[in-house]
Amino acid sequence: MNKHTKVLPLILIFASFLAGAGCAGKEKPSPADLQVQAFEDLRSEIRDVVSDAGRVEQAIAITEELENSFDRLRTHLAERSAKIQEMNADYDAPKEDYINLYKRIQKDIERNQSMISNLHRELVEVTTAEEWVSLKKLRNATMEAAVTSIQSS
């Protein structure tokens, strides 16, 4: 059992406990399903809250891009984690290789940050201040579902 698989069950137990509260006896949806549902709920709320059809379309497109970005991120993080573990297991890995790997990771991180910042700005721009406040609860719930989904993968 590797280090990740030792830690992962604890996260899953905790996430399952939260997800299972109030629905004992029913088959629990997977974290990935919860993420899909959370984004659907957010889009549904956008359709209800945003008053202009053109802006609704734009806001929906932004959430779809965000959802796709989370999916890509999940794959990317798994690859990054595997690479770090592989390098760490190599007793002879030179320090320079580590520094170069982390420089590449740094670029990934900056790309992620830029992507999230841009999507956030776009979403703010297509909503009014009142609509933004109305969407707060579901925005947070969607983010929470996405994080749980990434943690469990």
């Binding site: 760490n88 007793y91 520094i99 933004w132």
Partner: protein, 122 residues
């Protein structure tokens, strides 16, 4: 929740997972290495890694709180948010370099065979 998201984005895992991994290595060191000065030194370095991670997580928590507040505001100040990100990137860079240094210090006290056993399957 942003704290968890940022940690995943930047470290590739949750802060709890990173501390969990350090804790696993601490356990493995106890099992694999004989009780001697080398083991004591390795344990000291792992403790430093743990402290550095805790300190970084604390800093990450502060940055995330500030960002969360700023991002929640519809009339957010883009330049202020950019400043927060760049401050955060600097903190992370120094954390990563510190952890790389400590990883190589750790290696100084662990033989190849012990290393392979400690990190087997990782």
């Amino acid at each position: 929740m942003l704290i968890a998201l940022f940690t995943i984005l930047f470290l590739g895992q949750t802060s709890g997972a990173l501390l969990g991994e350090i804790s696993d290595v601490q356990d493995s060191v106890k099992l694999v290495m004989p009780k001697n000065d080398q083991r004591k030194a390795a344990q000291g370095i792992l403790k430093q890694m743990e402290k550095a991670t805790e300190g970084y997580n604390k800093q990450l928590g502060k940055s995330s709180k500030q960002l969360n507040k700023a991002l929640a505001d519809h009339e957010f100040d883009a330049s202020e948010i950019d400043r927060m990100w760049s401050e955060y990137h600097e903190t992370r860079k120094s954390f990563q370099l510190k952890m790389i240094d400590l990883r190589f210090e750790l290696k100084e006290h662990i033989s190849r065979e012990e290393w392979e056993e400690i990190f087997s399957g990782s």
